[in-house]
């Protein structure tokens, strides 16, 4: 096939969501778990996906916002997996954002 076809380099946002399996630990849970997310998921959705397996099942649900920590940094809630640059098999932690003064 030699016919030339114009190809456009697509950005992450243009592609169909791809599966990104992650290694996740939820708060004080006892075990690392496998949690599949997609490149289109926001951190809020990622945190919920992880919490689904643990929160209220092994770890008491707390009425606080949950944040995703990747490579030691909290990733903004609205950022997507693609934008945050999560690669398959990356590790994330999901923690409650406990207000100061609460223990």
């Amino acid at each position: 096939m030699t016919q030339s076809r114009e190809t456009v380099e697509l950005g992450p946002a243009d592609r169909a969501p791809e599966l990104v399996p992650l290694n996740a630990i939820f708060a004080t849970d006892f075990v690392q778990i496998l949690v599949p997310v997609t490149t289109a998921d926001t951190m809020t959705e990622v945190a919920a996906a992880v919490a689904h397996h643990v929160e209220g099942k092994r770890v008491r649900a707390l009425p606080y916002e949950k944040v995703v920590i990747h490579n030691g940094r909290v990733v903004p809630a609205e950022m997507t997996v693609a934008d945050a640059g999560f690669a398959p098999l990356d590790h994330i932690a999901v923690e409650y954002l406990v207000p100061k003064g609460v223990s």
Binding site: I33, H53, R60, P88, L89
Partner: protein
């Protein structure tokens, strides 16, 4: 007139090495199988077992052992002992039969390797007895497990376990292939007879027999303690090999010990730990797993390796800290992922049991109590479904067991941490720092696909719980479940329930 004493003639049985000339020595004793390494070939001439046995003594003594073990079995077969045993204890035996029978057979294959490639005639003779012993253990364990197949389908896993891709046998095959069959015979003699048989099997075969006897399972106690009498003899292959290796290559000796000790410690935390501290009925527990570990491993085994001139392994602090956590985390994992095991794991966390756990493990409530409390509340809210898994635990790339080891933080909080490694373009995860270190040092050998890797590579289809159970060979009649949810939850009925997922509580139908 009586027969000549063994000491008069056994030297001839032991003196059977010769110098080959028609074929190169290397062709008969390939370095890859023999692993002499830095040890000069002639050093092996000094190999001598201290606890000696001859063929006629062997068959006479083993006949006595076999007839008494089978006699106890026959006597108890006519009683109702089995029906009267606690479900938890039965689970300990199912775990044992399925987790041990074919491991004994792997040891047959390993002993045969030493019987062929061992570097001294008397070593090869000892291994010849060793393979017979292991054949006995494989057969007796298989046969005793078979007896219960008709009463409980989970005993089918006595023979079946290692033919499946269940995560437990994957982990154990990975460990035992790597320490019992695949290594060169020098490493093998230190990993199997020395580390495993003078160290860890004491825990499962002698220490556990104390719990078995207390639990009323005389037959099982008798079988496992009889098995260990063979180990006590043929494990003597380890000592002389160790002495020679330590003299010529102590660094290698230390590494081989360290690696196999760690792998064994991980596996026993998964199998022996829960059996002792959770499945054995509270009133029948002789000591805690930690106490048995202190008695058999820390006092006895470590003393032994120090006497041979080696040191405690480099990861000693991590190991000691793990005595308070590994098996508790693994127990929770075995319970939570109970559809994947061939026994009925009992949670074992009633108030009395928790009081016992807290007395033996002062941090237990702090690390595990809160999680069990959430699960108890779910069960009491009639929502057992919330205690069933919908994803896989992450499995360690070295030990293949769930990554579930909490460690303390400076602020006193116990948390599971991540231990990662980027190697050859791939990211690996581990349960502990030492598993990561072992992987790195031994990366070409231990680097093997975990169940997670297989799942993500699409080898398991369909990619859901049903597909995974099917891949694991799990069938409905053998699938594990808690034998009695009420036993450990009824103490807490009526307490205020907060922080369990509200939606699932409302939607509960169980």
């Amino acid at each position: 007139m009586t027969l000549l004493k063994r000491e008069e003639w056994q030297g001839f049985v032991r003196d059977v090495d010769w110098t080959p000339t028609y074929v190169d020595y290397e062709a008969i004793y390939p370095e890859w199988h023999c692993g002499t390494g830095k040890v000069p070939r002639e050093a092996w001439q000094g190999w001598e077992e201290s606890y000696k046995v001859s063929y006629p003594e062997y068959v006479a003594t083993q006949r006595e052992k076999e007839s008494s073990t089978y006699a106890v079995k026959a006597a108890l077969q006519r009683s109702n002992t089995f029906q009267d045993l606690d479900e938890g204890w039965k689970s300990a035996t199912k775990m044992h039969f399925g987790g041990v029978a074919l491991v004994e057979y792997a040891a047959v294959i390993g002993e045969l390797k030493m019987a062929r490639f061992g570097l001294n005639g008397s070593w090869r003779n000892m291994a010849t007895f060793g393979q017979l012993d292991e054949m006995r253990h494989a057969q007796i364990t298989t046969f005793f497990g078979h007896e219960f197949v008709g009463q409980d389908a989970q005993y089918d896993w006595t023979q079946k376990t290692f033919h499946t891709n269940d995560w437990v046998p994957i982990a154990l095959r990975n460990l035992f292939d790597g320490m019992m069959v695949a290594p060169n015979v020098v490493d093998l003699a230190i990993e199997l007879p020395f580390t495993f048989e003078t160290g860890f099997t004491n825990l499962q075969f002698i220490a556990l027999s104390a719990d078995a006897l207390e639990s009323g399972d005389v037959n099982f106690a008798n079988m496992i303690s009889s098995i260990q009498t063979d180990e006590a003899r043929h494990s003597q292959q380890g000592g002389p090999t160790m002495e020679i290796l330590v003299e010529h290559d102590p660094v290698r000796a230390q590494w081989v010990i360290d690696k196999s000790f760690w792998g064994s410690a991980r596996a026993f935390a998964a199998l022996t730990g829960p059996a002792m501290d959770y499945y054995t009925p509270l009133e029948h527990r002789k000591q805690s797993y930690r106490e048995f570990m202190e008695e058999w491993i820390i006092d006895q085994y470590i003393h032994t390796i120090e006497d041979y001139g080696l040191k405690k392994p480099w990861y000693w602090d991590e190991f000691i800290t793990g005595l308070d956590t590994w098996h508790h985390g693994l127990h929770m994992g075995l319970w939570y992922w109970r559809p994947t095991v061939w026994w009925r794991p009992k949670a074992g966390v009633s108030k009395d049991e928790r009081a016992w756990l807290a007395s033996k493990y002062p941090n237990w409530e702090n690390v595990y109590g809160d999680k069990w409390d959430v699960m108890i509340d779910q069960v009491n809210a009639n929502n057992v479904a919330a205690t069933l898994p919908e994803t896989l635990p992450w499995l360690c790339s070295t030990c293949h067991l769930p990554c579930c080891n909490a460690t303390p933080s400076r602020n006193g909080e116990w948390k599971v941490r991540t231990w990662q490694l980027d190697y050859d373009g791939k990211k690996y995860h581990f349960c502990t720092n030492a598993c990561r270190q072992i992987f790195w040092k031994d990366r070409d050998n231990v680097n093997h696909e975990t169940l997670i890797d297989r799942f993500l590579a699409g080898q398991i289809q369909p990619m859901d719980v049903g597909g995974i159970l099917n891949y694991m060979g799990m069938t409905p009649d053998a699938m594990g479940d808690d034998p009695d949810y009420g036993a450990w939850t009824r103490d807490y009925i009526g307490r205020a329930v907060e922080g369990i997922a509200a939606a699932t509580v409302q939607g509960a139908t169980q």
